[in-house]
């Protein structure tokens, strides 16, 4: 079972590296949006520092949302979803492999770029480790939950903005707990509660999302 998930991950990573340009999209998007905030809000160090946790996480959410479109769109277009469906292995495991590959492609670069951009937004340095932890716990949830929306909309034309509409309510809890964890770290308060909630969310998503994604794909395939 596990070997087949690894096979799917390996193929998707190979596919992603064949189109190296697309790999940079989430990172570029992040840098652009993060530089807009000081221009739009105010360059004042103290003021921006207080806003930084929220700004950082809102941008992470939007970057995840933008990259969600690409998980299944290509597979619907070239018909490989049907070939996955006809494989002996459980469909939700294969789909889990695809989502894991998507997280590695879009989530992991976030682990690198987000702390850097946080410094640009004058986020106090002592909050960086906690920010890093929230990204590590949060982005997989974004990928898993976003993939449910993608599974429901990629098969149809004009699914773009609809994906955002479907996925936004599912992202709200992640945004709340993640950004409050970072702002608690800025104030030096305890963050274990916030991170525990994110961890619980991750486990819930890991358990429930693959089945929901599998069922959604079967429906939009028909």
């Amino acid at each position: 079972m596990l070997s087949v998930v690894l096979t799917v991950i390996q193929r998707d990573l190979l596919l992603a590296f064949r189109r190296r340009a697309d790999l940079m999209n989430p990172v570029l998007f992040y840098v652009i949006v993060a530089t807009l905030f000081p221009l739009g809000v105010s360059p004042d160090v103290e003021f921006l520092g207080r806003l930084a946790p929220g700004l950082v996480w809102v941008t992470t959410l939007l970057a995840a949302l933008i990259s969600m479109e690409s998980i299944f769109r290509q597979d619907f277009d070239d018909g490989s979803i049907e070939q996955l469906f006809l494989s002996p292995h459980p469909f939700s495991m294969l789909v889990f492999g695809k989502v894991a590959a998507h997280w590695l492609i879009t989530g992991v670069p976030m682990l690198v770029i987000v702390p850097l951009m946080a410094l640009l937004l004058h986020l106090p340095v002592q909050a960086i480790p906690v920010l890093w932890a929230t990204i590590l716990l949060g982005t997989p949830i974004l990928s898993l939950v976003g993939a449910i929306g993608a599974a429901l909309t990629s098969g149809f034309r004009g699914g773009g903005i609809l994906l955002g509409l479907l996925v936004l309510p599912l992202y709200v809890p992640v945004l709340i707990f993640a950004s409050s964890a970072v702002s608690a770290a800025v104030d030096g308060l305890a963050v274990s509660g916030h991170l525990a909630m994110l961890g619980a969310g991750l486990i819930l998503a890991l358990v429930l999302a693959p089945f929901a994604i599998g069922a959604s794909l079967k429906i939009s395939m028909s």
Binding site: L14, L15, Q83
Partner: protein, 213 residues
């Protein structure tokens, strides 16, 4: 191909509709191992929808499809015995011919021997293009790649949607031989085609979806 008791793919009073208009209804047939079902019908008569129903992708509006008298929906064993070649190639354009076939073998759980894949690629005449990106192949070559997949997968039920399109003359002859071998090995074939297939008549059952065509 392991030879067991004859397998039966049966459909009973199938009804399919798309966007509110009815495509076909009260359709029933049964295909036994070693037989092929040729589906005829004009464009938009629901041929592809029927094939997709038989693969378990779509649900029919009414009626049911059974494999060895068990419904095919949620029937894992049936799903593993179906090979589907649709209009889309089902392969990744950014992977090479060999990579696509290798992934497909490992996906099916079979340990992919290099030799087996090379043999299948040589048979469909894509040996020279084996390291080319699938996206750069011509329509005919992509079709050959999909047919190479059939050879490799060795599954019982072949569901082929217009397999002969974009294929050149002499390859069609070879391909028809492959279909005959498949039927000799107690395989089942469901196919839509505009061109007559040279398969012995006693093995062929026909379904005509829209008499008007």
């Amino acid at each position: 191909m392991p030879i067991q008791e004859p397998r039966v793919l049966k459909a009973q009073d199938l009804k399919c509709s798309r966007g509110g208009t009815e495509l076909f209804s009260d359709l029933g047939f049964s295909v036994v191992s070693g037989e092929s079902l040729v589906v005829k019908g004009g464009n938009g008569s629901g041929k592809t929808s029927l094939l997709r129903i038989l693969c378990g992708f779509n649900h029919p509006a009414e009626g049911k499809v059974t494999w060895c008298s068990q419904s095919i929906y949620g029937h894992d064993e049936y799903r593993q015995q179906v090979s589907y070649v649709g209009h889309q190639s089902g392969v990744k354009p950014d992977l090479t011919v060999l990579e696509n076939l290798d992934f497909m073998q490992r996906l099916a759980g079979a340990s992919s021997q290099e030799s087996e894949i090379k043999e299948a690629v040589r048979f469909v005449g894509l040996f020279r293009q084996r390291n080319m990106m699938t996206g750069k192949l011509s329509a005919g070559q992509k079709r050959r790649l999909a047919l190479a997949k059939l050879q490799l997968q060795q599954r019982i039920v072949w569901v082929l949607d217009e397999p002969l399109t974009a294929l050149d003359k002499e390859f069609i002859g070879e391909f028809e031989q492959v279909l005959k071998n498949h039927l000799d090995n107690h395989g089942i074939l469901v196919v839509t085609t505009h061109r007559e297939l040279k398969i012995p008549e006693y093995r062929v059952k026909r379904v005509n979806l829209s008499p008007s065509c």
